[in-house]
């Protein structure tokens, strides 16, 4: 849409977007060199909510560190705690009962839908439409109700334990989840009619902010951002973990590389998550939810362990360097939005500010997860 223009780097001004700005979804700051409405150059400044998670990983035991992961990304918290417990289980060689893994998968997918719903609302709000946020959050509240009944928290869950779960799900949860799936499918159709079909919405996203596959590779972008650029990459499929190989689901990939593609990927992913939940509920096995052989104080053997999981925002990696003690010698969190956001500086050059902010919305940012 935007005609190619000749930027005048000599007649620019500096626009400071953030740290408190409605479009940055938190405390992110972007210094933009502007030529009128066009961005000549952008530089992201991070660290406004840097909470020292990696430092805390070093001076807390593995179990004490568990609640931290849900404060990392409060929208899709279960995915991140899942990564942590999987990393410990992998290193310590703990076998997790099947039922526990199934429940983990179901709850993670529920959380993923909740996260995408919130993103959907916030993204449309970035584009100036307010009502979808309200609808999306209302649907999200249903998920939070279910998860709250099981985990005891609305946002910052600490539900998984090394070797299993904190408590079992009951019939009420299964009933509620089964009722939820058709209702959510109906809602997705409604969102399609309300938002995806809107001409203004399409015009604002189609062909805007192209991110090529090669650029994704150079920056290490993962998740819906990479999948919107035609990269068929999903940790659940590429490096299968937990019980995901048991489920039949697709990875939505779009090749348009624009903001609309990223939008579509997330909308399709919700449907795929619902499929996983459906299958999980049907085939949920009986049995214990906690491993029998589990050391009381977890100490990992000396070495270097890496675990990647697919969270709502992309590939989350946790690297634990252990010196045999009960807390990590070094704990590195590889957060997906960190890499996804890094694209922004280069990709938004020459864009209109309103397109750039729509692009920022399409990256699905959670700032504490970038700053850690």
């Amino acid at each position: 849409m935007s005609a190619p223009i000749q930027l005048r780097p000599d007649e620019t001004f500096l626009l400071n977007v953030g740290p408190q700005h409605p479009a940055t979804h938190g405390v992110l700051r972007v210094k933009m060199q502007m030529d009128g409405e066009y961005i000549v150059k952008a530089e992201t400044v991070l660290g406004y909510v840097h909470r020292m998670h990696e430092k805390m990983g070093e001076n807390r035991t593995y179990a004490q560190y568990l609640p931290n992961l849900s404060r990392l990304d409060y929208l899709g918290a279960l995915g991140y705690t899942h990564g942590h417990v999987l990393a410990i289980e992998r290193a310590a060689g703990i076998e997790v009962p099947e039922r526990a893994e199934y429940i983990r998968a179901i709850t993670v997918e529920l959380n993923r839908v909740a996260s995408h719903l919130f993103w959907f609302g916030a993204f449309v709000m970035d584009l100036g439409g307010f009502s979808p946020l309200m609808y999306a959050i209302q649907d999200r509240e249903h998920i939070l109700d279910m998860l709250e009944a099981v985990t005891g928290a609305r946002l910052t869950y600490c539900y998984y334990r090394f070797g299993g779960l904190y408590n079992d799900v009951d019939d009420d949860f299964i009933e509620a989840a089964k009722r939820f799936i058709p209702r959510m499918r109906k809602s997705l159709k409604k969102y399609d009619a309300l938002v995806s079909g809107n001409i203004i919405f399409q015009k604002r996203l189609e062909g805007i902010a192209p991110v090529s596959a090669e650029m994704c590779r150079k920056y290490g972008a993962t998740g819906p951002v990479a999948r919107g650029s035609g990269i068929n990459f999903d940790v659940r499929k590429n490096e299968p973990y937990s019980v995901y190989p048991e489920f039949d689901f697709d990875v939505p990939v779009y090749h348009e590389c624009d903001s609309l593609a990223r939008y579509k990927v997330r909308m399709d992913e919700m449907e795929q998550s619902l499929r996983i939940i459906e299958q999980g509920l049907e085939t949920l096995p009986d049995g214990p939810i906690m491993a029998e052989k589990k050391p009381k104080n977890i100490k990992l053997p000396v070495g270097d362990y890496y675990q990647a999981v697919e969270t709502a925002r992309g590939s989350f990696g946790i690297r634990i360097v252990s010196d045999g003690d009960k807390n990590a010698y070094r704990l590195k969190l590889r957060s997906p939005t960190y890499s996804n956001m890094h694209l922004f500086d280069e990709a938004c050059e020459g864009m209109l500010i309103m397109d750039a902010l729509a692009f920022m919305g399409s990256l699905d940012l959670v700032i504490p997860e970038i700053d850690r």
Partner: protein, 162 residues
């Protein structure tokens, strides 16, 4: 498939010598390429290189179509060394995660930047500089990223006191 070709290409940097695993020897391992058990470690190849060989090793991975996952440091205060760890992975279904690591003396922490090869290394290197004070020679904009602009401390060093 890609595992073997990458291994061979990286192996060529060391003229074929295979180092001993640290668990067996009980001492820090030497430079060279190791294959790791994916089930317990989560990655396939583990190459320790000299800081001078770093760019060559990363170029091999770049040509092999890997994407950058993260860069981080570890402070081995007992050995008076700092370690920089680079993680690379692939988008296709030929799962292969490669770890490149390099060790540098603690009193002169300097490695070449790889942001010329991977643009995405820029922030990761700045962050590592924030936390460990490792200098990335040739980095275009090595100023604090996560810490305040005027920060002169490196909090993840083991001898850091708040």
């Amino acid at each position: 498939m890609i595992l073997e070709t990458t291994q061979q290409a990286l192996q060529a940097l060391f003229a074929g010598s295979v180092p001993a695993d640290e668990a067996e020897a009980g001492t820090p391992r030497g430079n060279g390429v190791l294959t790791r058990d994916y089930k317990t470690h989560g990655y396939h190849l583990d190459a320790q290189v000299d800081a001078a060989q770093l760019l060559a090793a990363v170029t091999i991975l770049d040509e092999g179509g890997f994407f950058i996952e993260s860069i981080t440091g570890v402070d081995w205060i007992k050995e008076n060394q700092l370690e920089v760890i680079y993680d690379f992975s692939r988008y296709d279904f030929d799962a292969c995660r490669v770890v490149i690591r390099t060790r540098i003396p603690r009193d002169k922490p300097e490695v070449p930047t790889i942001s010329t090869i991977y643009a995405g290394a820029n922030w990761h290197e700045r962050e590592t500089h924030d936390f460990f004070g490792i200098k990335f020679a040739g980095h275009p904009h090595l100023v604090p990223l996560l810490l305040p602009e005027d920060a002169d401390f490196h909090p993840l060093l083991k001898d850091f006191k708040a």
